[in-house]
Symmetry: C4
């Protein structure tokens, strides 16, 4: 039995997955993006281990939010599917999730360090450091490992949806970044920015183990892009002519 | 009411903006270039948050120098527009301004360090270190933040137009580089060079916290490209045939 | 006299060699991939010093496993041919070998350090550190140098085929990485991953000379991709339609 | 009056110049390659400051070896022309010269450090460290600056042609790399390799300020590619078919 998802979701998820190698965040088949349809109670995700150059709409897999069962698709979903599901269940405002092994973000995850707020490039998107989870325990690795990978993120954020909105990214210790957003596309953008700020942060820390810039500067940048007083961006660009 | 700007300015500003991602200085929609028409008393700038792949001539916004009012264009101008305006007002010789979040230059801005003159690559373009402003105060962030972002640069240069000509770039602490030049295209070239010398400087400092090379070498390189005794370059290349 | 090799082997070896510059692992003509046909007792390898843009099926060289004689092809085989041969003879499960001078892996080889297991990106493919050989002796350099380059790898692994399967890569001290796999394509993938984990490891060590993550996490990642309980990937993706 | 140069020289010099941005060694118009015709007593070089995308055969400038006079071409030659001329005069075996501001090589030049021999990637091409000159004196900068830039290289090598053949590259302190070779194309290849080994060396030194690998290994690599016992490469690849 096939489950219908809302119009455009499958295409958006495909596009976001295909963008991963285009923006330089993927090695081989690494990385995956999903998008959720909360009304239908399912999310759509990349299949496991399929090369990006072969990936097509038909390959996407639809998974039920409540129990993780595949309800549409012939292929096995990404091994990280249960991590995505855990994040969707814990944070109702999340519409899409992205996971990559991007070089500089993974370096922070492997060093088990948060990515500190060192400037406005970070504060434009993330209202605080990108936190790093503690190590998973042997028990968390032995059973339901992928679900528990989401669980350590959820626990770190104390299941607080507002926190997840303000800092839409986390590092899993020894592993790498998971990012999310209102849509699959937004979760991908947060993965791109997470990697960019990790890259800049590594260079900054090499120059100077400096204190973060003043909070009033960081807060100004976050609020000019987010919340009721935001004044960045344009609704829809007028067509060229 | 539409304001006419001099022929070619809008196209030059569009081209310079489109070049930002091509030369690898942009992530997502970050970065913006403007160009001024001092006779008309306006400058033309990128709209806020429009993806580079969608950007068209029609989207550019014309802003009045004297008060920052939009006088042409349907979109909201870049959030950094007031910073550009402040620089145009303070430095009469500036014809174009570029702002990016390029990785290595931002690392210096986040470390709140000037980019020191470590060799002739730097001295070919910048007649001294690329300075870094002090942090903006809470007051400067609370009101007219973007204008004040230009103000801290202007204050650092003591409003000295000649200084702005000799070192056409500055770092805003905790934020990133602003560069300028006689034209929009020139301001973009200075952004490219600013990023290149920041990249090389980071590697140089990793090898050796060395003193700068002798002033006579640096001066020789600056003066062979600038001023009355310059002998670099060619007027216009003969057409291929 | 021409030796027939199994269908598809020459094309696979050509494709894997052509992929080296495409994935950014080659400078000029550096790097080479070979694939073996154990039934025919030969392997197929890139010729020495031919630019990738000129490389064609006709240029590949077929070499006899038992004695290293060229049995097919007009060109001289890669100077590293004897290293490949040594690895094929020592490890019966190897179907392909790749050698590159990729930047970050070579840095570890030049520092004569193993690439430590610092996270799941590494553990997904390599079940332990990527080891680095001792220096070759003057005798090993004077005679049969290239064969001895393989010999120091084989000796380091105590000629243990299972070890070679679990960690399909090694650094030759002062030289660079050799990787292998069930096929030529797989050996290339291991070269790509070896370079990626070396790159991430360099950044991780710059942030923190941290201890490796807990063994249960690493083991979980290795076993979900390898062995009887693996659950990563899909057999063959359904065609798009 | 036009001077004829040997067939193919102008095209080879054009191709080598156009390759500089293609291999990622150039920012803007930086970098230049020349090739010499010793029988005609001239060399052909890139004009000054012409963007690579506009560069055409017609723009190349022919310069007399004996006195540096332009004998063919409408444009001003590269500002570095006198440095090339000095190298051609001092080292009779040189057929081409390349100058770039490539990132990692310039970092060594700015740190005033030689690029040490840290592995076989270096020893395959350079039979020893790539040396760095002392600073130019105020007198050397004041008059005939560009010629003196070649002079400090020539003095450092004690005008020894054999040394120039064995290590076809040098760093000018505070400036950057000059490389040379039997042809313009070869000098470019040496610039590419010089940058690659500088990049790897920077990472190696970050991991470990290690001693160089044993001389017998380095010597083996140099001699398998150079001199009477060389066995690397192939004469001309058979055409595909």
């Amino acid at each position: 039995m096939t489950v219908r998802v809302r119009d455009g979701l499958r295409q958006e998820v495909l596009n976001a997955n295909l963008a991963i190698p285009q923006v330089g965040l993927a090695t081989l088949t690494w990385g995956n993006v999903s998008g959720v349809d909360r009304e239908a109670g399912v999310f759509v995700i990349k299949p496991s281990g399929v090369p990006y150059e072969d990936l097509a709409l038909d390959h996407l897999v639809t998974v039920r939010l409540s129990d993780g069962e595949v309800v549409d698709g012939d292929l096995r979903p990404s091994t990280d599917t249960e991590t995505h599901r855990c994040l969707y269940l814990a944070f109702p405002s999340i519409g899409g999730v992205t996971h990559t092994h991007s070089t500089h973000a993974v370096a922070f995850a492997q060093a088990r360090l948060e990515i500190p707020v060192l400037g406005t490039t970070h504060a434009d998107t993330f209202n605080g450091p990108i936190p790093c989870t503690p190590d998973l325990t042997a028990e968390q690795c032995a059973k339901d490992y992928e679900y528990n990978t989401g669980r350590v993120i959820v626990d770190m954020l104390k299941e607080d949806d507002q926190k997840a909105v303000e800092v839409p990214a986390a590092m899993v210790a020894g592993h790498g970044p998971f990012t999310w957003g209102a849509t699959a596309r937004k979760s991908l953008e947060h993965a791109i920015i997470c990697e960019a700020v990790a890259d800049i942060a590594l260079h900054t820390l090499a120059l100077s183990p400096t204190a973060p810039p003043p909070p009033h500067l960081l807060n100004r940048h976050y609020t000019r892009k987010h919340g009721p007083d935001a004044y960045y961006g344009n609704p829809t660009p007028a067509p060229a002519g």
